[in-house]
Structures are given as C-alpha cells and as structure tokens.
Amino acid sequence: MNTIDSVDDASNVAVGEEVVVSVRNITKSFGGIRAVDNVSFDLHKGEILGVIGPNGCGKTTLFNCILGQYRPDGGRVELHGRDVSRWRPHRRAKAGLARTFQLLQVFESMSVRDNLKTAAQEHIGSMGRRLFQRPDMGLNDKVDRLIERFRLAHLADERAGNLSYGQQKLLDTAMAFVSGPAAVFLDEPAGGVNPAMLGDLKERILDLNQNDGMTFAVVEHNMEFIFGLADRVVVLEQGRLLMTGTPDEVREDPRVLEVYLGG
C-alpha cells in the first residue's frame, strides 16, 4: 500500500514495470480554490488505473491537466520520460495520450465510420500530404475491425447523432483507441450508461487491456464498475492524493471509508 508520503520515491514501482505516463506534483487552482494539489502518480504499461474520489475532488481537473486542456500552475507530465507539460492537447494526442470526456463527445453530423477516421487520420503523415491523400487514407480495414470489435457494425454508416446514448458512448470510447495510443484516459465511461450496456463496455475495456496490452487511467463514480476493472486505484480527496492501492486495499482502508461515508 502506498500513502501520499511514499508516492514520490520509486519503491512503489515494481521492478521491470515500464512507466508510460508519469505525473509529478501537478497543482491547479481556480481563483482561491486548489482543485488539484500536488498530485503525483505513475501509470504503468498494461495496467488499468482507477481514479476515484468524492464529487469535486479534482479528478476531471487532474485529467485536463495531464492531457493539456488546462495548463497546470505547477508540476510536470511525462510520457515515456519526455516532458509534455507545455504541449497543446493535439500534440499530446499525437504523441499517444488519448482520452474521452465526461460528457458525450462524438461528431454528430458525421457517420460512425467518419468519426473513427477523423480520430485516426491526424496521426498519419503531415498536414500537407493529407490534403492530397485518398479520402479514406487506407484506414477502412482498421476502422472496420474496430467497429466490429465495439459491436457497431450494423450502424457503421449511420449519423453518429442518431445513435442511442449507450451506442454513442461506445463510439466515443472506440475513437480513443483507433490511433493505437500509449495510454487512454477515460473520464467516467460508465456515466449515464444503462446497466445492460455497462457489462459490454467493461468487457471491451478488459479485452483491449488483456489482448492488446492497452494502458488505461479511468475516472469513475461507479465503485462497482471500477473495482471490477482496475488493477490499482488512486483516491483523491479535495485535490490531494489520499492513497493508492489495489481495489481490495482501497475498499478496506479506513480513510477512504471516512471520505465516502463520514463526509
């Protein structure tokens, strides 16, 4: 079990485990409120890291700092040891940091296929070359495989805006994977998804994790969902890191119980 004091030393990193994303002392304030306060953790290759905490504890702000939507007041984000803290979001995405957002974010006017092609195309070639490439950019097979995998094949040519909420959520998640990222940050993937589709979503994530070795960080409110998914869980409270540990450790920790029940 790691506490806030031991995160910064390397003892919590198992030998041979490759660090994909390293978050170091991220701090972000809005006005007088410290939304994220000196948070550090490592994301290891092939793991699913859960990020939990009560409402307003800074989980989404932390993600926005890691992925470039916000510029943190202090701290560093490293991808494979390279400092990406000052990069704009699209550059981090190209370097391999993919994400989804808390609210549904698909391109409604485009077909499911075009949504996925858009998600993939900017990772190939230069901007000038892209103007003169075939419209599909040779992505058809790749996109179709992913559509198949996410069980959206019968909707491939449907406008994304016409899909049901759960289907859009699947598409949204699929879009994060199509470029073959180094790490995927999912912001509340289970939010608003009905229980029937929840299992489906979990299955997809586990499938990508176990068969493709995909690395995940997942912000989630649904405890049942995250404890069944994550290898390791980070608990935030009022912007600070409360603890990290396995789901079992976190479940039994008195401090976590206090935050969720006592608060």
């Binding site: 699209h90 190209k94 993919a98 974010q105 391109f107 006017s109 858009t118 900017e122 069980r151 049901s164």
Partner: protein, 417 residues
C-alpha cells in the same frame, strides 16, 4: 439488419418516435419552403416584362431535374450518373444561356459568378469549419482594391510617403489580390481564434468595418468615397479580349468552376473531415490530434483568398470600385445567401447566391420594397427550412429513399412468402 441485444435498449425506441415526429413536421416545412421559393421566382414577376413563356419551360426543366435527383438513390450507379449529368447540364446552361443576352443580363450573370466564389468561401469557413465570418465583403474589397492598384501603374500616397506601383498583368493581379486577402485573414485569424460563435462574428464584423473605413478615408490610396473607374477595355488574357461582356462572364465562370473544384477536393479530403470535426466539437477534435489552430486559420484564409480573387474579378466586372460596395451590409448578404442556400453543402452557395443576384434583379419590379421581400423570404426560409434549400433537399431525399427502400423490401417479402 442485425441488432445485438445490447443495442435494443429503451433509448433506441424513444428515438424512433422522435424521428417520426420530426418527419411529420418536415413535410409541411418543405411544402412551405417550396411555395415561398416558387412565389419568389415565378409568381412575383408574372404580368411584368420580366416574365416570358420560356420561363415556364425553365421552371418545368428545373422541377424535372430536381424530381429525378430526388427519386434515384444517390449512392447507386444511376444516382451518380444522374448527379453528374445534372452538373454537366447546369454547366452547359451557364455556357449556352449568355449567348445573345443583353449586357445587363450578362452583368447579373457575372455578379452571380463572382459572388458565387465569395459564397463558396463563406460556406467553407462557416458551413464546413463552423466559424462565422462576417468579413467576406472586407476581403472582397481588399482583393478589388489591390487588383486595381496593381493594374494602372497608379501613384499612391500613404502616411506622407508616395510611390508608384508596378503595372502587372491581369492574371497576376488576381493572384496578388487573393494572396493579400489571405495574409489579412491570417492577421485577423490569430486574435479571432480566441473567440467563438457570436463573438467571432463581432470580431470579423469589426474588421470589415475597419476595411471600409480605410477604403473610405485613405484618399491617397483609394481615392476615398469618389471611387476609382477601372475600365475593362484594355484587358486581354491569353489573347482573348475580355472587354466583351460575354467573354468576361466566361472568364469569371472559369474561376467559379475552379473554386468549386478546389473546395470540393478539400471537403472530401481528410481536411474536410477535420473541418467538420472542428465544427461539431473543437475540444474533442483537439483531443484526437486535430490541430485546431492551424485548421481554423486554413479555413479562414482559403475563404478569404477566394473572396480576394472574387474581388479582383468584381472590380473589372462593374468597371468601378467604391467603398460602399464592401460595407458590412454586403457581408450580411453573403452570410444570408450561404445560410439560405444550405450550409455545409456544395450546391448551397449557388442556390443562395442566385437569390441575392438573379432574384434581386427579378424583385426590382417590387421597387423599393425588394429588400423587404428578400428579408421576408429569408425569415420564412429560416423558420421552415433551417438547413437551407440544399440541406432540406438532402433531408427530403433521404426520407424518400428510406420510404422507397421500405416499399421495395415489402414487395420482396410478399414475393417470397
């Protein structure tokens, strides 16, 4: 169609009912839109010298072509054939129609071509990339004045310094006009990137006003409100004399076709998808690696460049430039034309621009009230067909195709059972 158990949720069923309601609402909307358009094109000019028997033939041909395009499946080989034949027909019409027309008709046609280029640009910026630009008339003005200044070997004075500009061939002047507009669009683009929606509209509108004020007040550069006469009599391109109104219209038509081809190429390339992503959801696009800053500037500068080229053509078309032609009202006209025609469609700008050029001429019989009629028309169109004429056509066609397919399937099952 296979539906997995996971997709058969309550949400899906709700959605079906919503679409059905929309369908019902759409049909009366389309009817009202068609009636409004017909009233404007056909009924109003009846009983005036503008209306001739041949117009019935044109109207009939138009209805036939539209109906044919509505009935064939757009993805089938027949559909593709019909589409290309329609395009070829339209082009042939634009080539043949000017033969033997009066200079005033040719002027209207020229305005159609020139403003068409502007609206194609507006459509790329607004319809595809989702950025409202109300500075298109400003870029038109920059293009027009630049081409005029670089043509006559004019002496200009600005800020106490005076110099004589070189006299360059017309084609080069057009290129310089387009490039200058592009440079200005990038300059305005950087600050404009920080704002969205209506605020972006204000910024671009302010820029247009700025251009107008410069054109109006920098007399050393532009002759101010007196304007500059710029006769076409000496213009030849590749040995073709452009003084003839018909030749000049064909010259403009070449640029119109080229502009259409360029924008068609862009929107079907991966850039087009990036632009649409930018329009639908910029934050999501950025998170997927789309460089939203560069793409926004690209859309902006291509739109402005087209307006600049159009400006150079416009100056020689009406043989006179004067700041009032590039006032913000003109920007609103381009904006309305593009919206009414159908944002984000390739045909939309043509339909829209025919409203502000050809129809403006038709509506002159309404005297001073023609602006009122046009305004009323825009209001009606926005209420009944928010996606514009071309957008509504696409909706209608999608609905008809669905219905036809359903009928086809039903017929098929009856046979087998």
């Amino acid at each position: 169609m296979s539906s997995s158990t996971s997709t058969a949720t309550g949400l899906g069923d709700d959605q079906a009912t919503v679409t059905d309601v929309e369908r019902g609402a759409l049909s009366w909307r389309v009817v009202v839109a068609i009636v409004a358009a017909t009233a404007l094109v056909v009924v109003l000019p009846i009983g005036t010298s503008h209306f001739t028997g041949i117009m019935w033939l044109w109207a009939l041909a138009l209805v036939g072509v539209v109906g044919l395009n509505l009935l064939v499946a757009p993805d089938s080989w027949t559909g593709i054939f019909v589409k290309w034949m329609t395009l070829a027909g339209c082009l042939a019409f634009l080539v043949v129609f000017p033969i033997g027309r009066s200079d005033s008709t040719l002027l209207d046609l020229g305005l159609f071509a020139v403003f068409g280029i502007v609206c194609i640009g507006t459509n790329l910026v607004h319809g595809f990339a989702g950025k409202v630009s109300l500075a298109q008339a400003g870029f038109l003005g920059i293009g027009a004045y630049v081409s005029v200044l670089f043509d006559d070997g004019r002496e200009i004075a600005i800020g106490g310094m005076s110099t004589t500009l070189p006299n360059v061939p017309f084609l080069l002047a057009i290129a310089i006009a387009g490039l200058t507009s592009m440079v200005f669009s990038v300059l305005i683009g950087f600050p404009a990137l920080r704002v969205q929606g209506p605020w972006l509209a204000f910024v671009t509108l302010a820029f247009n006003l700025l251009v107008f004020l410069v054109l109006n007040n920098e007399e050393g550069l532009t002759e101010g409100s007196r304007g500059i006469r710029i006769p076409r009599s000496d213009v030849t391109v590749f040995g073709i004399d452009l003084f003839s109104s018909r030749n000049y219209f064909y010259f403009c038509l070449v640029f119109l076709v080229a502009a259409t081809a360029v924008v068609w190429w862009i929107v079907r390339s991966p850039w087009g998808r990036a632009f649409k992503a930018l329009r639908d959801n910029p934050a999501r696009a950025a998170s997927l690696g789309v460089d939203i800053r560069t793409y926004t500037l690209l859309a902006f500068s291509i739109g402005a460049g087209l307006a600049g080229v159009a400006g150079a053509l416009y100056a020689r078309l009406i043989e006179f430039v004067d700041p009032r032609g590039f006032y913000i009202g003109q920007s609103f006209d381009f904006f309305l034309a593009t919206v009414v025609g159908g944002l984000g469609t390739l045909l939309g700008p043509f339909i829209g621009v025919s409203f502000i050029t050809v129809l403006t001429d038709r509506l002159r019989i309404a005297g001073d009230y023609y602006r009122v009629w046009f305004g009323l028309f825009v209001v009606v169109m926005m209420l009944v067909a928010p996606k514009g004429v071309a957008g509504s056509f696409n909706q209608l066609r999608a609905r008809m195709q669905k219905r036809l397919q359903k009928r086809h399937r039903e017929a098929g099952t009856e046979k087998t059972s």
